[in-house]
Each structure stands twice: as C-alpha cells, then as structure tokens.
Amino acid sequence: MTVSQVSFGSHEPVLEVKNLTVKYIGDTRSTTAVDRVSFSIGTGEVFGLAGESGCGKSTIANSVMRLLKDPAKIAGGSISFGGKDVLAMSQEELRRFRWQDVAMVFQSAMNSLNPVLTIGEQIVDIFTTHAGYTRKESLRRAGELLELVRIDSARLKSYPHQLSGGMRQRAVIAMAVALKPSVLILDEPTTALDVVVQQEIMAQIKELQRELGFSVLFITHDMSLMVELSHRMAVMYGGRIVETAKAQDVYTNPRHPYTQALMSAFPPLTGPRVPLTGLPDGVKFRNIPDLTEAAPGHFVAPVSADASAADTAIMEGAAR
C-alpha cells in the first residue's frame, strides 16, 4: 500500500473558504495579505497550499482558526466549517472549534511550546482539560503520542530547549493530532525534519487520516512532498490563488508562469550541476485576474501580456 493510493475523499466539503480577503492595517503601510481567495476541502481530502514566501498562506490558516489579531482585518468573504459560519462563532463555540474540530501546527512550531513546562506536562494538559482523562491515563497516552512521532517516550521529561528543532516540531504535531480533529492544518510542519523522519511522519498522518477520516490543509514549500501527499493543491502569489487542480496535474502540467518557475527552480539530485534561477529579477505579477478553467478541474489565472514576457524570461533561465 503506498501513500498515494489512499482514497480521494468525498466531495462533501468540510471546510469552505469563499472570497476571503484579509488586510493588515498599518500606520505607514497597509497590506492586502489575502485577496479574494476561495477553495474548499472535502472530507478526508489532503489539500496543499503552496506559494511565494510572504504570499499569505499563514494568514489564511490563521483566519480559519480565527486567530488573527490586530491589525489584521478580515475585509471580506466567508469561511464555513461543516456548514457553520466560522466567522460568526462565539468565544464559547471557538473554544471547542479550535483543537477539537480544527487543529493547527504553526509554522513557528519549534518556538510555540511553553518553555517552562516539560513536553509531557504539556501533552497531559491537553488530555486532562479537553478530553477529561485522568492524569495516569493522560500520561500513558502522551507516551504513545510521542512514539507515534518517533520520539522516545523517555523524552516526556524533557523541556523544549532540550530537544532539537525537529523533535520540537514532532512534539507539536503529536499535540495537534491528540484530540483527533476533523481538520488538521499543517503550516510547514517538516522544515526541521530529515527526509526519512519527514516521510515517516507524513505517512503516520496519512495513516491516521485514513483511520479517522480527517481532512488536511497542508502548507509547505516542499513541492515534491506536496505533490506526493496532496490530492488537490493551490498555488498562491501576492495574496491571490493563481492555479488550482489535482496535485499531479499541477506537477505534470503547470500552467501559470509562477507555478512553472516553482516547478523548475528545483535542483535535481542527479546529473550535472547547472545554474538555476528562481523568478528572474524584476518579474512581478500584478492585478492577477480570477481563475478560469483551462482544462477539466484545472483552474488558472489568465496571464496578461506583461507576464507572458516574464514567462519567456523564466524559460530561458538566465545564468547567475
């Protein structure tokens, strides 16, 4: 059984984001970090979100969790979870919604553990407060969770600073799946993991996902990992989605020049060492239009004349 043979999930959307617009209002400069973004994730589906650094991915994740703080403003659009309006939830509803319905592994995972509590105390805390288990039961489960992410349960006694970057990331992943949420948001969960552990953890998450049927919003810069694990994916640029389709289709037939740049800026593991360029200097896409269906299920933002000039520049791949 291989990872990509996992069933596709149903088309019943669990999470639906429509025309979401988020702004950061500043004294000197305001940014539209997310600009009319729409996507939906089906039950049991893994949906990947890729894109430029700073294009608004974490902002979307934080919006879904209702964790945006001033000066961030949701300027438009809607988010619904299982038919319920997330943006209208009360504090009381949110308490349940977060971690039990939707759990998130933050991009800052390495830094998001409480430095004065041991890993064990932090996991036990989740079980006693949210699931009502006894301390003893919680401790046993905490040990199991750590083993699940390949950390020796003896490390329950370690403080966060005593763990390596990757171990801290794994501990946080363990905490996120502790309460078996129906949607799991992973914001760059594996930046500090070697590929072996990374594959194992992602396989574990897939395994759990198959068992429990939860959906995943998976944010990563690792395009190979994304293509390998996601059913569908979207590529963002400057707050907009520029392309969305089945992950395999995006990989084999990227249509937007930015997606093409992402897919070709990838140093190979074999063959000679050839210079690569990312987006050539000065290439910027502006006023990105709405998506149109370029092929069945494959949506792309049409590229204006300007940006097609950029397209050729990318293809020529100027030397460093």
Binding site: Q107, S108, Q162, A192, E200, M223, L262, L269, R320
Partner: protein, 356 residues
Amino acid sequence: MSHAVLSSQRPSADTEAPALEVRGLGKSFPIGGLFSRDSVRALHGVDLTIGRGEIVALVGESGSGKSTLARCVARLEKPSSGQILIDGVDVLKRDRFQASRAFRSQLQMVFQDPFGSLNPAHRVEHFLRRSLAIHRKGGNSETATQQRLGELMTTVGLQADMLNSYPHELSGGQRQRVAIARALAVEPQVILADEPTSMLDVSVRIGVLNLMRKLRDEQGISMLYITHDLASARYLADRTVVMFAGELVEEGESLDLLANPAHPYTQLLVSAVPDPARAGSYDPVRRAELRQAVMASTTCTFDGDPNQACSAEEPVRHRVGDPENSHWVRCHLYRPQPGAGGHALAAEPTDNTASA
C-alpha cells in the same frame, strides 16, 4: 567534478590554515531532573575541516547533533571535549570564557528557528544597524549606513520599507531572510547557517543559494550549510558531510557522495527524498523496516553483530571510489566492493582530506 557546469572557484590554499577546523569535538547534555545523572551524548569525536572559501553541507538525521555542532563552534555551547581552530588559532584557548567581538566578526551564525531568534521588541532596522555598528561595517556616515541597509535588504530579496517592520509582522520566510541579512552585515569570514532557507519557496531559495555562492566566489567566505534538503546541498556545497547519532559517518565531494552513498544511513536518506516523478513509490512499511535495520542497534551504532571486525571498537574510515573525490565512510557495515578501489584509511584520522 569534471561534469559540473558550475565551477568551484575556491582558491587553492594549501599553505594557509583552513578557515575552520574542528578536532575531536564532543558534547554531552545532562537530561532529566536536577539530580539525575542521565545524559545525552549529542556529539562524539567530530573532526571537520572547512577550507577558505569552501562551502560544506552538513546533513543528517533530526536530532543527530547538527545544531549542537554549530552552536559549539559559534561558542554558544561549551563543548565537553575537543578543539576549535579558526584561521589556525585555537579559539577555546584564546577566548577562554566567552566569544570575543573579534571572534564574532570572524564568524556569524544564522539560527535554525527564525521565530525564536529575532527579539520581538525591535524593528528589522535595529538588528541590521546593530550588527553594522558593533562590527564597524556601516561606513563613516549616516548616508553610508543607510545605503548599506538598503543593499542588505535587496541582497536577501526584501523591500527596503520592511526595515520598519517588527518580527511579528513578517512571514516565516521573510524572517529567515532578515536573519541572513544580519549575518551578512558583519562581513564575516565564516558563516554557520542552520537551515537558513527551510521556509523559503524554491524560487526565492535558489536566489539565496546563488547569493551564498556569489559571496564565496567574490569574498571567499567559508560556509557550513546545515540542511535537510539534499538537492540544495548538492547544488551549493563543494563537500557534504553526513551526521548520524552525533558522529560524522560519511563525507565526500557532494555530487559523488549523493551518487554513491556508502553508509547505510546515507543510502536511506538519499532513497527517502520525495520525488514527484516517482510519486506513489514510497512505501511506509518498507521504509520503516529499512530504518529499523539501520537504526536499531545494541552493540554498536549500526549492526549489532558482535562478531564483525569493527564492532567492538571505533569504526575506521574507508575510502570510497576515486581519491579525487575525498569520499570516505566510517561504518561497521561498510565493506568495499572488490576492485572498487576502496581501502581503509588511518584508524583515527584527524586529517579528513586524506588523499593518498
């Protein structure tokens, strides 16, 4: 290297001392409670040399000791044993208790966690200005400093108006670039970069890797590049070293090492690189078995077969393939293929460029 299109322009500096040399470095951490005697052996007998203008990639398992090595070299952690030589000077002897400013001007570190390494109370400008001021690299006028600040931001692909931003206003990748700019501001001779590009999209990442190469080519900066991205190690680094359980187990010219991994852990690592071209080929069950075989050990780091020659003692370094690639492996399980030109090097070499 004959096929490489990218030249490695590192100056041949046979007579000069290497930029950085680490000898027999060891580090143990106490774990558990205050009175517990348990400890974790994070590093053991690490020998590593980085020549002037050389880029060395350090890869290895999560938790194998990579950050600890970098933190010891940067004098943020006190090694339990061993020597650290910069430009041939033993810095642990020279600055006994803490790193001097001269040392910080020579060597800068980019930390693994961009969310923890920038003080939230300050704006981006503060970090860069401070580095410029302490190490007197800001030029002799405010105009010169401002210009330098602008240059640094452009260098890492950030807009100059972000100088006014606080860390919490930046995305993960933007913070990483600020951290890189802060190290560059000092114009050091050696940069230790701990996963500096892990949160950058591939397109920006290539830009940063090209920048690192350019700094090496133009200014002769030496680098230790810690990464989990084997493809980028191959792209950027002259040599790649592999760490496993606190020890260096294999080293070689990057292309050769990744094409002919000799250590079982390196083989496992290379085989696990996700590749969309073979999506679906990854089988978690089989991978878990392979990992088990490599990792599970009782008598020694690898096999657990007490009858094997090396098992009882420290494993020796074996040369792999053509001496030109300076490729060696240190493992209980490695057996040179007959006629493959490999043979055991010295049992306890300190010179890891050992070529016959």
